[in-house]
Symmetry: C2
Subunit: 312 residues, 2 copies
C-alpha cells in the first residue's frame, strides 16, 4: 500500500491545474476571473449512503463531480475547478485508486475543469468523499432557487424519476432490461452551461426528488406550484415500469435535472437556450400557501407518503 | 430527531454570511475582493482518526476551522469564508449539534469568517467533517512551501510537540498535570494574519510533525535543512516530560505552528511581523541532498523510527 504522499503524486497530482501547484502546497492559489461573481458549492458521497460498496470507482468519481456540477448548473454558473477530499479504508488499493482517478480525469476533460487541491485521510471502515466546486457567472447573474413569480411556468429538463428506479434496479428490486435506468442512477448528466441567466427567474436541481425540490422553490418564493402529473416527462424505460412507480419517480433523488421558473414570454428564449436538451412545461406558480400540488388527469391532488430523499 | 432542513435552519443558517444566502440555495455566490488572489484549502476531521468519540463538539468544530486556518496562515492569506460538510450518525442529537454550532460561532467571531455553504448527510456509524476555506492575498503574495534558498534561516513559531504529547495525555498514556498539553492538542492556535509576505521565502504549517513537514520544504526547494534539536522551542509542560519525548515531539502532528525560510537580512522584519508571537531560529537551509537533518548537542544526526503522521 503506497503512502499518502506517493498516492497523491501518482494519482491526483496529474489531475491538477496550475492553481493546484502540483498538490504540493498548503493551499491552491488563483487569480479569479475578472468582473465575475464566484459560485461555490460542496457535496459529499459516502459509501452505503450515496453509493454501494461494489460500485465501480470510476463511476463514483464521475458522479461526485457531476452532483456538484449540477449545483453549479442550477445557478447558471460556468465551472472552473474543484477541491477533493477522500477518506479511504485500509482495503482500498491501487486498482481502485487508478480507476477513481481515471473517472476524475474523464469528467475533467468532459467538463473542462481542473483539480486544484484537497485532503486525503484514512478512514476506519467506509469510503467518504467530498468535492468543493468553484464556478463563475456575470455579476448578479447567478440564478437563485427563490425567484419564482406568480404566473411563471414550471419547466423541467430531461426526464424525471429514472435514477430512483435505477437505484431499485441496482438493489435487485426491479428489472431494468435495457440498463438505461441503472445508467441514469450511476452517472447523471448535469445540465451545465445552459445560458439561462435572464430567462429563468428561479432554478433548482432535482437531487432530492421533484416534489421536495419543487417544495424548496415554493418556500423560497412564498408561492404555490401546480404540476400536472401527466405532463411530467418520463423516459420509455421508466414508463415501461408502469404507473405504480409514479411516487418513486417523483420523490426519489438523483435526477440532477433542472426545475425552472420561467415567465411565459420567455418560452422561445428558453427553448433556444436549451438547444437539444429536452425541456418540458409541467405546471405553473401562483399565489397561495407555499407548496407543490401534483394533479392527476382528473384534476385531483395526489398525496404521497414521503416527499423526498432526506438525510438526518 | 430534527430533519436535515430543520437542522440546517436551526443550527447552521444563523452562521451564514451574505454570500451563503441563508444556506437556502444550491451554491454560495460572492463577488471576490478586487485585485486579490484567492487561496483555497480543504481539510477533514474524522471520528476515530482526527478526534476521539467523546471529544467535546464545540472543540471539534473549532479545531476543524483552525486546521484550515493554519493552511491559510502558511500561505500568508487572510481568511474570508468557508463551506462545511457534515456526515453524522443517527445517535447525534440536538445537544451535540448545538455545541458544535456554538464552537463554529465562537471561532467565526474570533477569526472574522463566515459560513457560506455546505452539505449535510447521514452517516452509518462515525462523524465525518470537512471544511473548505477561502482566503485572499495581494496578487502573487501567497507564500509557497517550496521557495527556500540556500542560506535562508529556518524559523518556527510558538513551541513544538505539545499537541503530540497532549494526544498521549488524552489517551491516558501521559500525565498532564496542568492540562496545557491537552489543550494544545484539542485547540490549536493557527498563526493567522502574520504579515509574512516579502519576508519569508517559504512557509508550511506543522500539521504532520516538524520533521515530515520540514522534509516537504526541503523536497520542494531541493535543499538540505539542518536543525539543532536544542534550539527547538519547547513549552515548560513539554520540557517537564523529559528528553525521552523528543521523537514524539518532532514527529507528532497537530502543532499548527509555522516553519519559515527567511533570509538572514530579514530577521528584524520577521520579528516585527510576528509581534508578540514567539518566533525561534532553529536551523538553516543549504545545498545538499533534499532532507532534514536534526543534530544533537554534540553535532550528531538524530535518527527517528518514523518521520511523522501519515494516512494510508
Amino acid at each position: 500500500m503506497a503512502d499518502e504522499f506517493t498516492r497523491i503524486a501518482k494519482y491526483f497530482a496529474p489531475l491538477a491545474g496550475e492553481a493546484g501547484r502540483g498538490l504540493l502546497d498548503d493551499a491552491a492559489v488563483f487569480s479569479p476571473p475578472k468582473n465575475r461573481d464566484l459560485v461555490l458549492t460542496t457535496d459529499q458521497m459516502l459509501e452505503g449512503i450515496h453509493f454501494l460498496p461494489n460500485d465501480a470507482a470510476d463511476l463514483i468519481a464521475r458522479k461526485l463531480l457531476r452532483r456538484n456540477l449540477s449545483d453549479l448548473a442550477a445557478m447558471a454558473a460556468t465551472p472552473l475547478s474543484y477541491l477533493l477530499t477522500t477518506a479511504l479504508p485500509p482495503h482500498i488499493g491501487d486498482e481502485w485508486l487508478a480507476a477513481f482517478a481515471a473517472g476524475l480525469a474523464q469528467d475533467q476533460a468532459e467538463y473542462n475543469i481542473r483539480l486544484i487541491g484537497g485532503d486525503s485521510s484514512s478512514s476506519q471502515a467506509h469510503i467518504s468523499l467530498s468535492a468543493t466546486f468553484i464556478g463563475h457567472t456575470a455579476p448578479g447573474a447567478a440564478i437563485s432557487r427563490n425567484g419564482a413569480q406568480p404566473g411563471d411556468d414550471l419547466w423541467v429538463t430531461g426526464t424525471v424519476g429514472d435514477a430512483a428506479l435505477g437505484l431499485q434496479a441496482r438493489l435487485g428490486k426491479l428489472f431494468d432490461p435495457t440498463g438505461f435506468l441503472t445508467q441514469r442512477s450511476l452517472l447523471p448528466s448535469p445540465r451545465i452551461n445552459l445560458p439561462l441567466a435572464g430567462i429563468a427567474r428561479a432554478a433548482i436541481d432535482i437531487s432530492d426528488g421533484l416534489i421536495q425540490d419543487l417544495g424548496h422553490m415554493c418556500q423560497g418564493a412564498g408561492l404555490a406550484a401546480t404540476v400536472h402529473a401527466a405532463l411530467i416527462p418520463t423516459s420509455p424505460a421508466a414508463a415501461a415500469q408502469g404507473s405504480k412507480t409514479l411516487e418513486s419517480r417523483l420523490t426519489g433523488g438523483d435526477d440532477y435535472e433542472l426545475l425552472l421558473a420561467v415567465p411565459p414570454a420567455q418560452e422561445p428564449a428558453l427553448r433556444a437556450a436549451c438547444g437539444s436538451v429536452q425541456i418540458t412545461k409541467i405546471g405553473f406558480f401562483s399565489p397561495g400557501p407555499p407548496g407543490a400540488k401534483i394533479l392527476d388527469s382528473d384534476g385531483n391532488s395526489l398525496i404521497f407518503k414521503k416527499t423526498g430523499w432526506q438525510h438526518f
